[in-house]
Amino acid sequence: MPSTYVLNMNDCLGNNPIACGKCAEACEQNAINYDDHDEILTREIGAIIVAIGLDVYDPTEMDEYGYTRFDNVITSMEFERLICAGGPTAGHFVRPSDQERPKRIGFVQCVGSRNPKIGRPYCSNICCMNTIKDTLLLADHYPDVQNTVFYQDIRASGKSFEDMFQRSKEAGTRYIRGLPGEVEEDPETHNLTVTVENTTSGSLERHELDILVLSVGVQPPKDLAKISSLLTLSKTSDGFFMESHPKLKPVDAPTRGVFFAGFCEAPKDIKDSVCQAGASASRAGALLNTGRIQIEAITSRIDEQACMKCGQCAAVCPYGAINWKKGEVAVVVEAACAGCGACGATCQFDAITMRHFTDDQLIAQVRALLELEPQDKVVVFACNWCSYAGADMAGISRIQYPASNRVVRTMCSARVSEEMVLEAFRCGAPVVLVSGCHYADCHYINANRQTAKRMQRLWDKLEKAGVRPERLQLEWISAAEGQKFAEVMRQMEELRKTVTMEEIEHTRHALQPKHKKIPEKKTATAGAR
């Protein structure tokens, strides 16, 4: 690949000064342009389909199979080149050590899949069927081969897959349940001996082979993190992209207007990739056809009269959506505002209203939650995109945890102001948890850095007031981490049990506001004069 010629720019001598230029002379179509160069193109778009695929697992770290030590241990991708009529051997299957045709061919399944020890617990989905296909190809090309497949489970659940598996067995392929523990090479013949525990018979077996094919798994592509932060997407625990809902919105990303197709969402074969691509195109097409979309009314508004022109809101806005010049009132560009609320929580002068997530609304929630028996409760501020969704995931997975937590949803953890946390303590909360997305996953670029800074200030404040700072906790919990959410809730419950009634009473008084707010003071003075 590719099927057309490409200049390898690292090696090309070019023709300036005329060092070579032979290819340009030879090309009758005048298709070669040495002056072509990388350029940045800007296009406006209304929908994005992410189809960045996969990387193939590199088995170097699994040294027991000897991939780097023995010539005749190859990967399933290398097998594809050796059996391909367009490949280096013109489709004649030979082994690397002596270019002879191997007759005893082994396949090891789950190399880099379903192996928690190397951090790859998931099934790669395609390797069982790919090996079955390879055994059928070999049996078809060379009736005298002996194929042996070492496996844990054969997963052949797609349409007509079981039929292929049976045909492979009928063609003489031996399926041995058990993964090899060791591979040795005869230095003279370069033949391989595989030691395996046959878990069906319970016996230790040794198999001599001419070549061993490692049926390698797949992994999320290297570029996934880059695309993920560019489009504020999330990952599931296996590292692939997280969809909006596992059953009902399987091709939508949580970010509106972004859709997934193919392997990058989860391991899947060609047919399923084609199906998902169709679904994704249909979803994107529906969006493009609407003509206009509504933006959720959760954006920031600045009260010109209350604004003290300090510019702090503009400094924390991750989108640059607040225009401010020294000495002037800050102005929100509504179309650019995503509604995280970092500005609203930062403004010290009550000049910013987050529509639909106002201070009044959130404080009212805190007070209502703590009205009765606050000492039994843990107040949890959870961001919509990660922690709240992580709590949803715990629910969907039916993971149990103590019933003491009370969640208040904000769009971003950066919306949680000092006042909201302090009010929770004043109302008698033994423990307050602020939770948001992991740094790289923040749905609002990096607004949750403001959360971390604010928490630091709050811890200092609590300590000065004689309140144990650990009663205010900060955790990053992603939308996929239902397990972690439950675990954190158990920890919070343990922490809550350490807080005494005396401590709670002390906190109520220690955190009472001592001074009126600055602007009110100024107005009062001005009024008196």
Binding site: R43, R81, S273, H356, A368, D392, R398, A403
Partner: protein
């Protein structure tokens, strides 16, 4: 300039507690939660439904909005991440601004995670409803900004999924920009010889 809208004279909240079959009612005493909700400040009616998201449930909300002149609605059911659009649309159809609807998550955050603790789950459910109702008192109607959609799609990745998605979008008459980092499209599939289950070549 932001002028806070004057609060209406009287806040009239309707609370709709959903059993979700046994999904919620199996772990939470929904009857007790409904009685509790009725006594909350500003609540003028509290109704228990078997499935609030189903047509009969939604119709009950719409009827109650008209019958009780509700100006705020609290739906105590599942996560807003799933059904907030459903219930916003429901109250809109009954003439309320969709932002005057608030949800309490009694399923994902309560009944599903506390199945063996009916007392604790019911107490928590009551608190979540109280919190939603308290928030509802401060909700204001909001107008959404409408923006045009640029009629062009970007497909990132030129493997089989990216190619197929691009072709289908283009067949439907949309402009598509396909981006591929390699010199050629085709991706991993193009590196395979034969592919299952048809055993024919990949390109």
């Amino acid at each position: 300039m932001v002028a806070p809208k004057p609060l209406e004279d009287e806040i009239r909240i309707g609370v709709f507690v959903c059993d979700c079959g046994l999904n919620i009612a199996g772990a939470v005493d929904c009857a007790a939660v409904t009685v509790f909700a009725k006594a909350l400040p500003g609540v003028v009616c509290a109704v228990r439904n078997k499935y609030t998201c189903a047509d009969p449930g939604q119709n009950e909300i719409k009827d109650a909005i008209r019958a009780h002149k509700l100006n705020r609605v609290v739906v105590a059911s599942c996560t807003p991440r799933q059904h907030e659009p459903t219930f916003r649309q429901c109250v809109r159809e009954a003439g309320l601004n969709p932002y005057l609807m608030e949800m309490a998550n009694l399923r994902e955050h309560c009944s599903w995670v506390h199945p063996g603790n009916r007392e604790g789950a019911t107490r928590k459910a009551m608190d979540l409803v109280a919190s939603a109702a308290a928030r509802a008192r401060f909700l204001q109607p909001q107008q959404e900004l409408s923006v045009p959609v640029t009629k062009r799609a970007l497909v990132i990745g030129g493997g089989v999924a990216g190619i197929e998605a691009s072709l289908q979008l283009a067949d439907a008459g949309h402009k598509v920009v396909l981006v591929e980092k390699q010199p050629s499209i085709g991706g991993i599939m193009a590196q395979l010889d034969k592919t299952y289950p048809t055993m024919d070549c990949s390109i």
